[in-house]
């Protein structure tokens, strides 16, 4: 079982991710806000699908926490509506594997996720 953490507050996207990932054989855990996501990051994950605008904080802060304080190199795929250059640049500076924007294709996301999870 490969556990994946999904940090997403939008009900629709969370549902899509849950269905898509479960069908692909992952164990999905959804955190809908900053506080619960931060707590969840303490556990071991095969990968993290991260939204940036979540209630209570920024996904980038969570990423910072994961990379700099927990010092883990868990594969992180950002899935965000933010299309601005600086958001992408900021995320990449913090070390994301992929930056995907919404609207997204679940098939595409799964393909990329597979690449990173498999290589671990």
């Amino acid at each position: 079982m490969r556990p994946v953490l999904v940090v997403e507050d939008d009900v629709t996207v969370a549902k899509l991710l849950q269905v898509a990932l479960t069908r692909a054989g992952y164990e999905v855990f959804i955190a809908g806000d900053y506080a619960s996501a931060r707590e969840a990051l303490g556990k071991d994950w095969a990968a993290v699908v991260l939204d940036i605008n979540v209630p209570g904080g920024s996904g980038l802060d969570l990423l910072r926490y994961l990379r700099r304080e927990l010092k883990r190199n868990t594969p992180v795929l950002v899935l965000s509506g933010l299309k601005q250059e600086r958001s992408v640049a900021e995320a990449q500076a913090l070390g994301v594997q992929e930056y995907l924007t919404k609207p997204f294709s679940p098939g595409e996301l799964l393909k990329r996720l597979e690449r990173y999870v498999a290589s671990r």
Partner: protein, 468 residues
């Protein structure tokens, strides 16, 4: 003797007309305000907000956070400001010569390093001792300066701000994640907009987790509950009404968004008044009108800011005293606008209203209560009549307050429990029976303290919110 009686009779007549006009105004605000909020609620496209957030059309914002002695809460507050959902903004914390460990707390929490910073000192302020940047958050700047008061701190922040818009907040303001988005879009959609104010709601009693209001519960304290009703009325029917009429004079210091260049042009905040937030807005109005420019200063009904309100009488009275003195100071400083057609609705409607019905109202009210027994003893009216009249006045006020509670019911984030709703409706009754009178007394006193206490914040500010 006859002369005295005639005079007293005339006085009664004047008071009656005063009351009638005052309530006509209340009715007007209620009408315009409710209309404005209802229209806003039905027309705002949430989809358009989402689009705005996600694309390159936005105006970057500098958030100015003046702070004094707030070592216990400052790290938390700043972190919540840094978490706002907005593509590009900076947070400038101005530590106004704090006597406690505010600065040290900031240095630790955000890994600050001192930098030699070159910037344009467009506004004169008390000396800046140091400028710090954060190693963790590139958009955080902290300024350490000599104590000069809130307005001075804001001016110092303004000097350092680099973005076209700035947002003045209180250090203990809790902003909604979309606060900047919802307020700044008004600037984007209309070039003429100079300033935007939002709705402030009391935070007391709310369940807050990581800077997000998770649930709204009525606080235990009677005073705190009263202020919930009071704020609802002040914003949804006061500010909304004035904004709809194009004569908004007040934007709260707890949250206001302004065009930086405009604020600099009028000289920033005045440091010799306690009403610096209102004073800036009035000056923006004035300058634009004097230059004959088309402009807008508007209010957005979205509840985007929460703040802790005083929970005990002493703090509340000091706060209201300060507000009232601030009001008098601003009105006095800009007395040239009074009844002056050059200033349009502001001069002919808003300023006179604020002088007669906001600033002077407590005097009239208190005198009324004092003279009541006098008139009765002189046999100028029957007790029954007076009692019914008083009851009507209270009932009318209750109606308006309940309308405001009704507006609050339309919010998505409202006090959810039905019994809380009932409590608020009942509190609206009590507001007119005791609460207002006590505050009217405090404002009455404040009217006579304006000269002595010019520009003085009083102990309340220094204590900060330790009581909270």
């Amino acid at each position: 003797m006859n002369l005295l009686l005639d005079f007293l009779f005339l006085y009664q007549v004047v008071i009656l007309w005063y009351f009638a006009l005052l309530n006509l105004f209340y009715a007007l605000f209620a009408f315009f305000g409710l209309g404005m909020v209802a229209r806003y609620a039905r027309e705002l496209s949430e989809l358009s907000l989402k689009d705005l957030l996600e694309r390159e059309a936005y105006l970057p914002v500098s958030i100015l956070v003046p702070t004094y002695n707030e070592e216990k809460t400052i790290a938390h507050s700043v972190r919540s400001f840094l978490s706002l959902h907005y593509p590009e903004f900076e947070v400038i914390v101005v530590a106004d010569g704090p006597k406690d460990r505010t600065l040290e707390v900031l240095k630790e929490a955000f890994r600050l390093v001192e930098v030699e910073w070159v910037y344009r000192r467009a506004l004169p302020t008390k000396p800046v001792r140091a400028v710090y940047r954060s190693l963790v958050y590139p958009n955080l700047i902290v300024v350490d300066k000599e104590n000069g008061g809130k307005a001075d701190a804001l001016n110092a922040g303004l000097n350092l701000a680099r973005y076209p818009l700035f947002c003045a907040v209180d250090a203990d303001s809790l902003l909604d994640a979309q606060a900047l988005l919802r307020a700044s879009r008004l600037f984007l959609e209309d070039d003429r907009v100079l300033a935007v104010g939002g709705t402030i709601r009391p935070l007391n009693g709310a369940v807050v987790r990581e800077g997000v209001v998770e649930a709204l519960h009525l606080p235990r304290g009677f005073l705190e509950k009263m202020q919930i009703v009071e704020y609802a009325r002040a914003f949804f029917m006061g500010r909304a009404g004035w904004s709809a009429m194009g004569a908004l004079l007040i934007i709260s210091g707890a949250f206001g968004l302004f065009r930086r260049e405009e604020a600099l042009r009028v000289g920033g905040y005045r440091t010799d008044t306690v009403g610096e937030d209102m004073e800036l807005v009035v000056r923006l109005h004035r300058r634009a009108r004097e230059e004959g420019r088309e402009y807008r200063i508007v209010y957005t009904p979205d509840p985007i800011c929460y703040t802790e309100v005083p929970a005990d009488w002493a703090t509340l009275r000091k706060q209201r005293n300060r507000w009232h003195r601030g009001l008098w100071e601003v009105l006095w400083n800009h007395r040239v606008m009074l009844f002056n057609p050059r200033y349009g609705r502001l001069g002919l409607l808003a300023m006179p209203y604020f002088v007669l019905f906001e600033a002077l109202a407590p005097v009239v009210e208190v005198l009324g209560y004092v003279l009541f027994p006098v008139f009765y003893l002189l046999g100028l009216f029957s007790a029954e009549f007076a009692f019914l009249f008083f009851l009507l006045a209270v009932a009318y006020g209750v109606l308006l307050s309940q309308l405001a509670v009704g507006m609050e019911t339309l919010l998505l984030k409202r006090y959810p429990r039905l019994r809380d709703r009932l409590a608020l409706l009942l509190l609206a009754i009590l507001e007119g029976l005791g609460y207002r009178q006590i505050l009217a007394w405090e404002r009455f006193l404040a009217t006579f303290q304006v000269w002595r206490k010019r520009g003085v914040w009083g102990e309340m500010r220094r204590k900060g919110l330790e009581s909270a």
